[in-house]
Amino acid sequence: MKMVTAIIQTHKLDEVREALNSIGVNGMTVTEAKGYGRTKGHTEIYRGAEYQINYIPKFKIDLVVDDSIADNVIETITKTANTGKIGDGKIFVWDIETAIRIRTGEKDQQAL
């Protein structure tokens, strides 16, 4: 099993969810996140005073999938979350040892 963590633009969330749905991914965890990378934030102006906004709002999505579809998931997110502009986000992938469904106690693949 792989865990895929993607930081994406906020307006891309629905598109990514639909695309993942269509390749058989049936669940994810979404977190409102803030951060910066190469964009280095932006400036907002209130009453003439400039404020440096260092952390830009993003969505972080976490999903755990079977090894067999991990590459497809990554490719799907990369494609749908892409606008071609700086600030599109990043994807991180790592191995998952165990997964357990709390209600039934099912493990690993059955729990996904």
């Binding site: 907002e44 102006i45 209130y46 009453r47 003439g48 005073a49 404020y51 440096q52 906004i53």
Partner: protein, 403 residues
Amino acid sequence: MFDSGDTAWILTSTALVLLMTMPGLALFYAGLVRSRNILSVLMHCSAICCVSSVLWFALGYSLAFTEGGAYIGSLSNIFLLDMARDAATGTIPESVFFSFQMTFAVITPALIVGAYVERIKFGAVLLFSSLWLLLVYVPVCHWVWGGGWLADMGVMDFAGGIVVHVTAGISALVIAIVLGNRSKFPDQISPPHAPWMVMVGAAMLWIGWFGFNAGSALSAGSDAGMAMLVTHLSAATASLVWLTIEWIRFGKPSLIGLVTGTIAGLATVTPASGFIGPIGGLICGLVGGGVCYYCVDLIKVRFNIDDSLDVFAVHGVGGATGTLLIAFLALESMSGVGLEEGVSSISQLKTQIIGIGSVLVWSIAVTLAIIYITRRLVGLRVESEDELEGLDYKAHGETGYNL
């Protein structure tokens, strides 16, 4: 002896002016601070409302509005002991006049909140506001509206350009300087946490201001009607002025900019609202919007003074600007009510300058003294650790947003 129409309108105006503080000003200010201080700002406005009301009843009203000397009224009507149930002020019950004036005594010290947000001790807010109401607002109110020496001199201030906005504005600047800037001001400070809330508050202020200005006619006739008209015109015009300047300067017109322009226009037209005509209202908006915009920049950016929510630049400068404009806009040739017989614009302007100048000097001196007393008795500023963590939890044990 009472005019029911007049009485009904002033009853309504009283509610409108209270709405300006509760919750208009409170929300206007609360949206401008960071999320960890929202409750403290709402608390400041609410507590000042309560304290000022009781003090106005106990002492303030009597000292401001009974005949006394040129500088202060008498103690003959403290706790309203001298007011009969059916006493009259003009064509309305005195109880209504008292309450209407009380809402002014509520909002004026609350305006100063904008200067010291996010770093002041709550006890200091209460003590400072109480002393300030009795020692700055009440005497000036007597000078201008209670038959005092500025009234005798012919100073024109219809609804409080001097009495409300100049007193609060300059005192705000003084306490901002003495208290010092918020930590990390100006570079590292976070922007307003809820601009939408600022707009909601400003809208309530705008509506409430109809009671403030048109209510100050103390009658429900043409004076009130024209005051309401020019008030609205000035607010709308100043909003557009602010919007235009920002659009040209920064490429984007902002909501906070527009509503700040609204308040600048309202403060500017306040002293003039009962004396001028429609074109005068338009001019108040044009001038007030431009001058206040410039002053916000001047105080915050150039002078680096953390009058956090721009009380001086918007209220003080706006109120003073309108007070000066009266000398020209009140002329009959401008569709105004006209100046006193034999008084020219220039001589009226001199009178207005003396009015503003003397109130500035009094406000600065007394505010400094009050700050000194407050610092000795309760202290002014919270610990820097508390400032960083926010006053909501540190001072009040509550949190604005439990998500």
